[in-house]
């Protein structure tokens, strides 16, 4: 099963933790959330001060998404553009998708307790707002090949050779 999804390519070495992407995401989705709150951004940046590294974290819409399988009420679903999102009319806020996520991506809405993940700004023709907002080139869109398990493994292997 191939999911032809445009993928966000993250380059942590370029990220300066300026949080423009989180702001863009919060603004883009504030209508859905009912509030404008950067903590509700579907992209998070982890800052590791001792290592001087910032790692953006976003839903990778795994090909074999474990969150779809563990959801007790079948609220996690794959939409037409390949993203995996939470159906807010079903979600009961049990956090199962947060726990099983290999990157720890879903963000929890503080009021409803429901989870939020990247929908790649589904209906927007301009593309994901975080990519537009990023000035450093840490977030780019790779539309040539969707990030399948094979390509991800190949890339991981390449990294390993480089740093072994």
């Amino acid at each position: 099963m191939k999911t032809k999804r445009e993928q966000l390519r993250i380059d942590p070495t370029k990220c300066t933790a300026c949080h423009l992407c989180t702001m863009a995401c919060a603004i883009k989705h504030h209508g859905i959330h009912g509030m404008l709150n950067p903590h509700l951004s579907r992209i998070k940046i982890h800052q590791y001060k001792p290592q001087e590294v910032n790692v953006p974290e976003v839903c990778m819409a795994c090909e074999n998404a474990p969150c779809i399988k563990v959801c007790p009420v079948n609220a996690r679903m794959r939409i037409s553009n390949g993203s995996v999102v939470t159906n807010v009319s079903l979600c009961i806020g049990c956090h199962a998708c947060v726990y099983i996520c290999p990157v720890g991506s879903p963000e929890v809405h503080p009021e409803t307790g429901q989870t939020l993940t990247c929908d790649m700004c589904a209906e927007d023709k301009a593309g994901p707002w975080c990519v537009i907002a990023c000035q450093e080139g840490a977030l780019t869109l790779s539309d040539k090949d969707s990030l399948t398990i094979e390509t991800a493994r190949n890339q991981a292997g390449r990294y390993k050779r480089m740093h072994a």
Binding site: P50, Q51, V53, C94, A96, G104, Y159
Partner: protein, 421 residues
């Protein structure tokens, strides 16, 4: 080719729908002991509590079966399999032939031999019909026997409906198979905080009442109640498989292609005994995500693809009111008979709690409550990669200058464990 599936649960439907999506030529038939399309047993406690509407409990509609050319046989329980004639017989005398048979009838609720367990007012929360009965039942005080995931969720649902709720657990702490003692005790304290009475190390001796339940007698006290929920666990249904001479252990024995010991009979879902995907040990994790994966593997193997099932994933979560907890891998009890040096890393911050179990410096399990649970996925990855935590601990601060992209996960792990502090 005629594929016959016994059981209309998650695993059985996954086989049927994966098959029909890949290849329309097969004749697919599902025999169901119940009279409804596929529903999700995981959502039943939430249906009981009113968080989920009845229409959302179902994963499939009747039209879906028609569209995919899947025949459904309702209200028939298969009683015997004849592997020579390739024929099954149901309790209503129906005989159905097959070319490939899939056993996906799941598990049966374990009913403990307690005196008076057949009285009125005693329910379970495993099947839709039973849950609906419990939902329409009116009462004021409920006793939940057993504190597994279903017991906990049922207790929460009943509390929300306004019942006075008691949980009775034979072990010393709640959720004994999923959590270790400190975590279990913390969860019990949280439940008490929400007004649910938790009674651990108690044994139910008998259920009193002439016709309808009036009280539950344990070895420590007598609780007056009008509702009893039996949530003492699920045992794999192996009796049917034994009629065909299939090898069974705790569950139906299967190989990596999910084939049983009898040719052309596959098994998947709650009724099989598989291996732990991480350790390779024999294991039974009767969970939804495992059933879905096993169903897919069976369908692919029926179609002739050579796929192997690598094993089940030990991951579960517990959630009631505003308390969230997750667990994966082994508990400390599970490591007692293993060789090697086990170590427990504990972190506590108010109500949040993290417990990671290491064996020879590698993560083999963990439990988390509250905020720590949000990052438990990283620990699961560490278990899969068999990261050396000792090495991360000693080198964590020196990772800094290298900016090595391959080390981000290790960096985050060090952050979770608090090595830098």
């Amino acid at each position: 080719m005629k594929v016959l599936i016994i059981g209309n649960g998650i695993a059985g439907n996954q086989v049927a729908f994966t098959l029909s999506q890949q290849n329309q030529e097969h004749e697919i038939c599902i025999i169901s002991a119940e009279g409804v399309p596929e529903y999700d047993p995981c959502s039943l406690p939430y249906f009981l509590g009113g968080e989920v509407e009845k229409k959302n409990v179902f994963r499939k509609k009747m039209e879906d079966y028609e569209q995919h050319n899947i025949t459904l046989v309702f209200d028939n329980k298969v009683v015997s399999i004849d592997p020579e004639a390739k024929r099954v017989t149901t309790d209503k005398g129906l005989e159905i032939d097959y070319d490939k048979l899939v056993l996906a009838h799941g598990g049966d609720l374990f009913i403990p031999p307690i005196e008076g367990i057949d009285k009125k007012g005693i329910f379970s929360c495993k099947q839709l019909i039973e849950t609906e009965k419990l939902r329409s039942h009116t009462g004021s005080c409920a006793v939940v026997i057993g504190s597994g995931a279903i017991g906990i969720e049922a207790a929460e649902a009943l509390k929300k409906k306004g019942y006075e709720v008691y949980i009775i657990e034979l072990f010393d702490w709640i959720l004994p198979t999923l959590f270790d003692e400190p975590a279990g005790k913390k969860l019990a304290a949280a439940m008490e905080g929400y007004g649910i009475h938790v009674c651990t190390s108690e044994k139910v001796l008998r259920i009193k009442g002439t016709d309808v339940v009036t009280s539950v007698v344990t070895d420590k006290q007598e609780i007056e109640c009008d509702t009893v929920v039996v949530a003492t666990g699920v045992v794999p249904g192996t009796a049917l498989a034994r009629t065909a001479g299939i090898e069974t252990g705790r569950g139906i024995q299967v190989n990596q292609k999910m084939e049983t010991s009898v040719p052309d009979i596959y098994a998947c879902g709650d009724c099989v005994e598989t291996v732990d995907a991480c350790t390779g040990e024999a294991a039974m994790f009767q969970l939804k995500h495992n059933a879905i994966e096993q169903g897919q593997i069976v369908a692919k193997n029926i179609l002739g693809e050579k796929t192997q099932y690598l094993g089940a994933h030990a991951f579960a979560r517990a959630h009631f009111f505003k308390t969230h907890a997750a667990t994966f891998g082994k508990t400390i009890r599970g490591t007692e008979c293993l060789l090697g040096e086990s170590e427990v890393i504990e972190k506590e911050n108010g109500a949040d709690y993290l417990r990671v179990i290491l064996l020879d410096g590698k993560v083999i399990g963990g439990q988390a409550i509250g905020k720590y649970a949000d990052t438990i996925g990283l620990l699961i990855s560490a278990m899969w990669r068999k990261d050396d935590i000792k090495l991360i601990r000693s080198k964590w601060n020196s990772i800094s200058k290298t900016k090595n992209p391959g080390k981000f996960s290790q960096m985050r792990l060090g952050h979770i464990f608090g090595f830098g502090a």
